[in-house]
């Protein structure tokens, strides 16, 4: 069967079939570039989620005076939960506090067995909303409420962590853009290689009156198909790699390696979108001036 009158997709498919080695080189190069991009995205997403979990942990503990009656704690918790910037406020009775303390001590919990009385006070645990100011103003405001003995900042280093996460986010975006530009560069060079390999064919098309758009179309489609194939391969590669590396090893800040290298379910879609965007951009750059009807002959 002789095929004529194909659209850009058909012509792209055909020219891909004519040079399998070129395709293999293009797809594997793109696959490596996308795998690097995918690893970076995974680390950003998982570390971002971990930081978010840390930042939304209990950040303020309101200690009640011994004179505060048994109803004061729950009432204060309800009042504080309505304050701006407070995600949740929950009353923790002294018995519950002792249970938690035991749990935290783990194997050393038996040290508490000799206690005759529970020394811990009643309290209210505040969880602040992400990004909410946990500054001294809030603590001072709460301290003036009836029945409050003191306000303890649960994790004084959280503020520093929050600043670091914010700065890290900006850096991550900048690095992400650089990586994306790297993928565009790889794609544009791959397309340039393909154009060079088919120079004679393109010259001939220009001679018989093919417009630059007619010649460019299959290259853009070819680039997109290569990008999608590379995205699929890179996703598979990362899934296997992360599965192998995800040992239950502990990392600082209570993180686990398995959490940091968890394969994000949307990663293949992200890589496919990135690949298509990069190959379209790279395709335009790669074909560039080389398909102008006067210059190419």
């Amino acid at each position: 069967m002789i095929a004529v009158g194909r659209g850009p997709l058909g012509r792209a498919w055909r020219q891909m079939g004519e040079d399998i080695w070129l395709q293999a080189v293009a797809v594997s190069t793109l696959c490596v570039a996308l795998a690097i991009m995918g690893t970076y995205l995974t680390l950003c997403l998982n570390l971002g989620a971990a930081a978010s979990r840390l930042l939304t942990g209990p950040t303020l503990l309101v200690v009640l005076t011994p004179e505060a009656g048994p109803d004061r704690g729950p009432v204060l918790a309800r009042e504080l939960s309505r304050l701006p910037g407070v995600a949740t406020a929950s009353y923790v009775g002294r018995d519950e506090a002792l249970v938690r303390f035991r749990r935290r001590l783990g194997p050393q919990a038996s040290l508490l067995d000799d206690l005759e009385v529970n020394p811990l006070p009643n309290g209210v645990e505040l969880v602040l909303a992400p990004g909410a100011p946990a500054g001294p103003e809030l603590a001072a405001f709460i301290k003036n409420r009836a029945g409050v003995a003191e306000v303890v900042s649960g994790r004084p280093w959280l503020k520093r962590l929050e600043r670091a996460v914010s700065a890290g986010g900006d850096l991550a975006v900048a690095l992400g853009i650089l990586l994306f530009l790297g993928v565009v560069l790889v794609t544009s060079n791959t397309v340039r290689l393909a154009v060079h390999a088919r120079r004679r064919q393109l010259e001939l098309m220009a001679l018989v009156g093919a417009s630059p758009g007619y010649m460019r179309g299959p290259y853009l489609v070819e680039g997109m198909l290569q990008g999608l194939m590379a995205a699929l391969l890179a996703s598979l590669l990362l899934w296997v790699l992360f599965s192998l590396l995800s040992a239950p090893a502990a990392l600082p800040l209570g993180l686990r390696l398995g959490q940091v290298l968890a394969f994000p379910p949307l990663l293949p879609l992200c890589l496919a979108v990135l690949a298509v965007a990069a190959t379209l951009l790279g395709g335009f750059l790669g074909v560039g001036r080389s398909l102008r009807p006067r210059e190419m002959l």
């Binding site: 004529v4 001679l207 018989v208 009807p293």
Partner: protein, 221 residues
Amino acid sequence: MIRLEQVSKSYPHRDEPALKRVSLAIPPGQFVYLTGPSGAGKTTLLRLLYGAELPTAGRVLVGGVDLGRLSPGKLPLLRRRLGLVFQDFRLLPSRSVFENVALSLEVAGVERRQIEHRVSEVLEQVKLKDMASAPADTLSGGEQQRVALARALAPGPDLILADEPTGNLDPDNALAMMRLLVGDYVGGATVLVATHDPTLLSLVRGARLVHLERGLLEEME
């Protein structure tokens, strides 16, 4: 159909211009031989006519279109009105005869059914219909040049430019090729054949003869 007005063409790294103030007018339907030794400027003149080069000075008009003023975007439209034949055939080697001929119609956006009809027609004219599905690189030189001619004829061009079309052919195939170029198949198109082979000149009676020598054009009797 073709008008050259005081056309000169120089290249940066050559002392002597390839063409020197060449003027030529070819009316529609005329058959013209452009003769001259190798390096005389024949190929340069043809390249100016299909817009691969721009003149250093003067004007080149094809079908009333001044190529110096033609925007790059319109150049493909002009080339679709031309049929080009080269000494080295310039076929897509792995594609079939049919696909090579269809290419000149495909790029112009002709419908599939019309392409199939027209390609069959021109392959019949150049006596290659039975070889339609054969890959181009399996054909002999003479057959490949007939495929190239069929590709040039398929869109029904107004002007056929042939640069040494028999340069790679034996005398029998050269004769067959020239017969195709002067037959009814060209459909009244203007034909300009560049050649340095004097034996071809006797094949076309009444053909106009112009001679290029070191970039200067001279009309011959």
